[in-house]
């Protein structure tokens, strides 16, 4: 606004209104979605609790305790040392409260890793395909189409099984194993299996994002500002990295939230079916698989790892819903 003499008195107010950033607008809209906000709080609590697992959990997640018998015991059981197991113990005497916390840590870490890598991969592939068009686009589109048509779960199960069975032949650098192991708090022998699972989930998870990004890039590249950038002599990398990707990011942000929930479930399904993360390492999926064989005598068992799983999946979906409403009000249902 040109500062005229008569407008000076109202200018500051105008200014503050104008300067509400895009982020603030989105944030304000997001806050209005009550369930999404509640979900954010819930997920923070669950995530925080699982990050603090070594502090909060009184026991070791893998230490066996034979004194309680080879049967799961109900919540609140007191063992021979007088320690209380708040959620009971499983058939090997491992404290379930501890295991649920550690499992959350592992499940959520896997989900975050997988989502970061799939989104980065998908965004890059999609942006390049959409921006260049022509042969590159045709190739990428065919591959994406092909990978979307193949039935995902059986393929995931096969590849996960193979990779986990032969994980010692995977060329994973030691520092990656050490780093991931430090985050997951898993022993060095188990970490490669988790990394193998992450690789599988990334390899078969990037297509959705690539499709979204391709569409965005395709529509963006025809617009005038990209044309003018090209006239100014900006390189393709710069146009893609600084203009195409940031402008097409809104639907990706929504997809991230939904994908986090999806990956947690996929990982749980694979672990439940016995081809994902294997037993000494707890995840909600393989804990449920164990619970299934004991649920007829101990019906509370499936709930202990099942409820956090459902809650996390629901919250990510609600957050995704809220983000969609906030980022693109036209899509509001």
């Amino acid at each position: 606004m040109v500062a005229g003499a008569g407008t000076i008195s109202i200018k500051p107010k105008l200014e503050t209104n104008r300067q509400e950033s895009q982020f603030a607008i989105v944030f304000r809209r997001f806050i209005r979605h009550r369930l999404a906000v509640i979900s954010c709080i819930l997920i923070t609590i669950i995530f925080g609790a699982s990050l603090l697992a070594p502090v909060l959990a009184p026991f070791s997640p893998t230490k066996l305790d034979g004194t309680l018998g080879a049967q799961p015991r109900p919540p609140g059981i007191v063992d021979s040392k007088g320690q209380v197991h708040w959620l009971g113990v499983d058939n090997l005497g491992r404290d379930l409260y501890t295991r649920v916390l550690y499992a959350g840590r592992i499940s959520i870490t896997i989900a975050i890793f997988v989502t970061i890598f799939t989104e980065v991969l998908g965004v890059l592939i999609g942006a390049i395909a959409g921006y260049y068009g022509g042969f590159v686009d045709a190739l990428v589109s065919r591959v994406t189409e092909f990978m979307i048509t193949i039935p995902l779960l059986p393929i995931l199960a096969i590849v996960a099984k193979l990779l986990i069975q032969y994980n010692n032949q995977l060329p994973i650098p030691d520092f990656v194993i050490a780093g991931v192991g430090a985050i997951l708090l898993t022993p060095a022998t188990e970490t490669p299996k988790v990394i193998a699972l992450i690789i599988v989930l990334v390899a078969f998870g990037w297509m959705g994002t690539a499709r979204l990004m391709r569409g965005m890039a395709f529509s963006l590249r025809g617009q005038d500002f990209i044309e003018s950038l090209r006239a100014f002599g900006a390189s393709d990398m710069r146009i893609i990295g600084r203009h195409i990707i940031p402008n097409g990011l809104a639907p990706i942000i929504v997809a991230v939230s939904l994908d986090l929930g999806g990956v947690i479930i996929t990982e749980a399904v694979l672990s439940f079916l016995g081809v994902g993360v294997q037993d000494p390492t707890p995840t909600w999926g393989n804990m449920l698989a164990q619970a299934q064989s004991y649920m007829f005598q101990h019906p509370w068992l499936p709930l202990i790892s099942g409820i956090p799983l459902v809650v996390v999946s629901l919250t990510f979906n609600f957050i995704g819903d809220g983000l969609r409403d906030a980022l693109d009000p036209r899509l509001k249902r």
């Binding site: 092909f146 048509t149 193949i150 039935p151 779960l153 059986p154 393929i155 199960a157 096969i158 099984k161 193979l162 069975q165 032969y166 010692n168 032949q169 929930g261 479930i265 749980a268 399904v269 439940f272 079916l273 016995g274 081809v275 449920l288 619970a291 299934q292 649920m295 007829f296 019906p299 499936p302 709930l303 099942g306 799983l309 459902v310 999946s313 629901l314 990510f316 979906n317 819903d321 249902r333």
Partner: protein, 392 residues
Amino acid sequence: MVAYLIRRVFQMVIVLFFVALATYLLLSITATNIMPGGESQRKITPQEVALIRAKYELDFYFPFRFSRWLTGLPNGQIVINGRELFSNVPVGCYMVREQPPSCDQYLYLKDIPEYHPAVKSSKGIIRGDFGISGGISKGRPAWEVIQSRLRPTLELSILSLIFSLLIGVPMGIYSAVHQYSRFDYFATTLAFIGTSMPSFFFALLMILVFSVMPVFWKDTVPWLPRMPAGSYVAARDYMIASWLPSIRAGSTIDHILHLIMPVTVLTVISIAGWSRFVRTSMLEVLRQDYVRTARAKGLIERIVINKHALRNALIPFVTIVVFSIPGIFGGALITETIFAWPGMGRLFIQALGSNDWPIVLALTLITAVLTVVATLLGDILYTVVDPRIRFS
């Protein structure tokens, strides 16, 4: 349209070829990885290695053995330089010498014809020969094992398909017509939970509520019926409630009782997705001008909805249903596993667990073929139900 069809079929064949190639590569990898160095339970002797290599013809030139696996051609024994392939591979030892450890008389592959028939028995997977099952039921052809699981899977998936169509479509229509009504909120929330709830936890909850809890509450609520928690039919007679007559094992009622829970799980999952889909597409159509015209003409609401709006709203839905056909075969993986249902999904998991790769890969291949065919079928159906769409 004809040109389009020809192009699509051609593409389909190429895709299927690549799927078969990938499958065969997997088979080769799994076969070679049984070798030492892999994580097998015990050390495998070189003789056993030779046997496995001969069984899967791993030393054979790749394009030829792939073609032989796919089509059964070139058939018959393979003679190179006047010598039959694998005939001189030692696979065992008749007389072992202790010092120094060696063998005096070897057992050759040609001596055990069941592992190396003079004329290869495989007719190629194109003619339905998927090899011999290894772990699940040893020695039976993989295709036969799969066929024996076909019926239970079809029962499950066709029933759930029918129910989800019968419930999901009307639910979506009602939600759309009465948008923002109490029913709509209820249905949308339910669909939301249904899509984000993992199906295996839902199945476990069903078992918990209908099979496990009645046993635990026997003293407080003795009249609560108890559902059978899994498998195809019961092994012996049982009671579901004290006030009902006992159920004969293997009878129709017994079978239906076993069907109820898995069908419910599958139905609820697809209702969640489908009702939302129908709702969205119905809402879109209801906003169109011709619907307003129909209303303005004075047509009663029922006709506007059923005759004008619904028909157009269901066009995209047709493809969704067609795309779910491959899922009929392989999709019930989780549900079948949890309910111990002897179908193809559970067979897949069992085969994977016991390293029965011929069955695993046969099932994968079948599902892939069905998926590709269903995709084509869906696209064609699209033009049939919607004349506005023309492919060129």
